[in-house]
C-alpha cells in the first residue's frame, strides 16, 4: 500500500514544483520538492523505498521538464539508496536532519545532472544551485512531516 502512497506524494510534489508561484521564486529558482520527497522517503522507509522514490520521482520530473532521464534517475535513485542506508547513522526521525541532508543532496543531484546535460553557463548553474539548496532544505521540513505521517499510517512498525 505504501508503494501506492509514495507515487501519489511524488506526483503532487512534481506538480507543485512545476507550478511554484512566481512571487515565491528566488532568481527564477524554487525548491526541488521531488528531491525533498525522495530524501524524506529514504529517511522514513530505507534504501529500497528511497530507490523506488528516486525512480518514480525521476521519471515524473523528466516527463514534465523535458529533461534527460539518465541524470535524474542516477542522481535521485542513488541518493535514495545512500540516504536510506545512512539513516541508521542519522537521527532519521528529526525534521532538521531531513533539511541538512537536503542541503547536501541538492548540489549532489545537480552535479550528477551536469554530467548528462551541461548547463548554459557555469555562473548561472552555481547561483541556481546555491539558491536551490537552502530553499529545498526549507521545503524539506513540511515534506518530511507529510511523508513521515503517510509512512506511519501504512507502515506503523517503522
Amino acid at each position: 500500500m505504501i508503494y501506492l502512497a509514495y507515487p501519489i506524494l511524488l506526483t503532487l510534489a512534481t506538480a507543485m514544483e512545476r507550478t511554484w508561484p512566481g512571487w515565491l521564486l528566488v532568481r527564477d529558482q524554487g525548491p526541488h520538492l521531488v528531491l525533498a520527497t525522495v530524501i524524506a522517503i529514504a529517511l522514513s522507509a530505507g534504501p529500497v523505498a528511497g530507490c523506488f522514490g528516486g525512480l518514480v520521482g525521476g521519471v515524473l520530473l523528466a516527463g514534465v521538464e523535458d529533461a534527460w532521464m539518465g541524470g535524474l534517475l542516477i542522481g535521485y535513485m542513488g541518493l535514495g539508496i545512500v540516504i536510506g542506508l545512512m539513516r541508521g547513522q542519522l537521527l532519521a526521525e528529526r525534521v532538521l536532519v531531513a533539511s541538512l541532508v537536503a542541503v547536501v543532496a541538492t548540489p549532489v543531484a545537480e552535479l550528477v545532472r551536469l554530467v548528462f546535460a551541461a548547463p548554459p553557463g557555469p555562473g548561472a548553474w552555481l547561483l541556481g544551485t546555491a539558491i536551490a539548496a537552502p530553499y529545498t532544505a526549507l521545503a524539506a521540513a513540511p515534506v518530511f512531516a507529510a511523508v513521515r505521517a503517510v509512512t506511519s499510517l501504512f507502515m506503523p512498525e517503522r
Binding site: 512545476r18 527564477d28 520530473l61 514534465v64 532521464m69 534517475l73 553557463g121 548561472a124
Partner: protein, 279 residues
C-alpha cells in the same frame, strides 16, 4: 533518539528498479533520436498534468479571493469590467487573426505567397513556468494541439509543442537550454549550422548561438537566419533571427560562432501561431 533499523535489506527490488531505469533511459534516448517523446515521459505527463492544472486553478481562485478581500468590492467590480473588456478585445483579436489567415490563403491562391512558410492558427499564451532547463509557456488554441506542433509569432520562430492535452500545450522555446534547431543563413547557398540558446550572460537569456558551421562558413553581421528543415522537426524557411556578432576562436580557427538576436520577443508573448504537421 536514534532510530532502530534492521541492517538487512532485500536488494532484489533495487536491482530490478535499476534495470527499469536503464530501459527507460534507453527508451527516452531512442525517442529523442526520432524527435519524439518516450512512453514513460508521455505517461508521466498524463499523470502530472491534471494535478498541475488543478493547482493552477486553485492558485487563481486563491489570488482572486485575496484581491477581493484586500481591495474590496469596488476594485472587484472594476476588475470584472476590465476582464469583460479584455475578453472582448481578445475575441476581436482572434477574429482579426482569422481575417489575416483568410487574406493569406487568398494571397497564396493568387500566387502572392512570398515565403511559402505557413503562418499557422492563433493560440493564446496562458501560463509561464520556469525550471532548471529554462522557461516554458503554456498555450491554448481553438483546436486540439499535438506534440511536435511548431509555435511561432508573426516575427519569428518560438519553439515547438512538447506536450499537449486537448487544446492546451506546453511549449519548449528556442531560448531553452538543450534545445537545438537546424538552421541556415538566408542567402543563396547560405551555410548550415545549429541554433541553440546562448549562455545567460550573453544577451540576458534572450540570445541564440549559431554554431557547427563549416570551416569555410561565410557569416556576416546582419545575416538573417532561418530554419533549414534538416532533422525533420522544423520546416524549412521559418525566420529565427539576425546575426549580431561573429566570433572566430583564436585557438581553433575552424570554430566560428555567430550570436543571433531572435526575431520573436520571448519576454512579451501574448499570442502565437501554431503550425500543425502538414502545414
Amino acid at each position: 533518539m536514534r532510530a532502530a533499523h534492521s541492517p538487512q535489506h532485500n536488494w532484489a527490488p533495487v536491482i530490478v528498479m535499476i534495470a527499469v531505469a536503464i530501459v527507460l533511459t534507453i527508451g527516452q534516448h531512442r525517442a529523442r533520436g526520432s524527435a519524439g517523446v518516450s512512453f514513460a515521459e508521455r505517461a508521466a505527463w498524463r499523470v502530472v498534468w491534471p494535478v498541475q492544472s488543478s493547482l493552477v486553478t486553485f492558485g487563481t481562485v486563491l489570488r482572486n479571493l485575496n484581491t477581493a478581500a484586500l481591495h474590496g468590492g469596488r476594485l472587484a467590480r472594476e476588475n470584472e469590467e476590465l476582464r469583460r473588456r479584455v475578453a472582448e478585445l481578445e475575441a476581436d483579436k482572434m477574429a482579426m487573426y482569422t481575417y489575416y489567415l483568410d487574406n493569406m490563403a487568398m494571397r497564396k491562391k493568387l500566387g502572392w505567397d512570398a515565403t511559402g512558410v505557413p503562418m499557422g492558427t492563433p493560440a493564446r499564451v496562458i501560463n509561464w513556468s520556469s525550471g532548471p532547463q529554462g522557461r516554458r509557456i503554456t498555450i491554448e488554441a481553438s483546436s486540439p494541439l499535438e506534440p511536435g506542433n511548431i509555435v511561432r509569432t508573426e516575427a519569428g520562430l518560438v519553439g515547438r509543442v512538447y506536450s499537449a492535452e486537448g487544446n492546451r500545450g506546453t511549449v519548449v522555446m528556442l531560448i531553452t537550454a538543450d534545445h537545438a534547431v537546424a538552421a541556415r543563413i538566408l542567402r543563396e547557398n547560405g551555410d548550415h549550422g545549429i541554433v541553440y540558446a546562448a549562455p545567460p550572460e550573453q544577451g540576458n537569456g534572450q540570445m541564440l548561438v549559431l554554431s557547427k558551421l563549416p570551416q569555410s562558413a561565410d557569416v556576416r553581421v546582419g545575416d538573417r537566419v532561418v530554419s533549414s528543415g534538416q532533422g525533420g522537426v522544423y520546416p524549412d524557411g521559418l525566420p529565427i533571427g539576425v546575426v549580431e556578432r561573429v566570433e572566430r576562436s583564436e585557438v581553433n580557427v575552424a570554430s566560428i560562432v555567430a550570436y543571433v538576436k531572435p526575431f520573436a520577443d520571448f519576454d512579451h508573448l501574448d499570442y502565437v501561431r501554431v503550425i500543425r504537421r502538414g502545414g
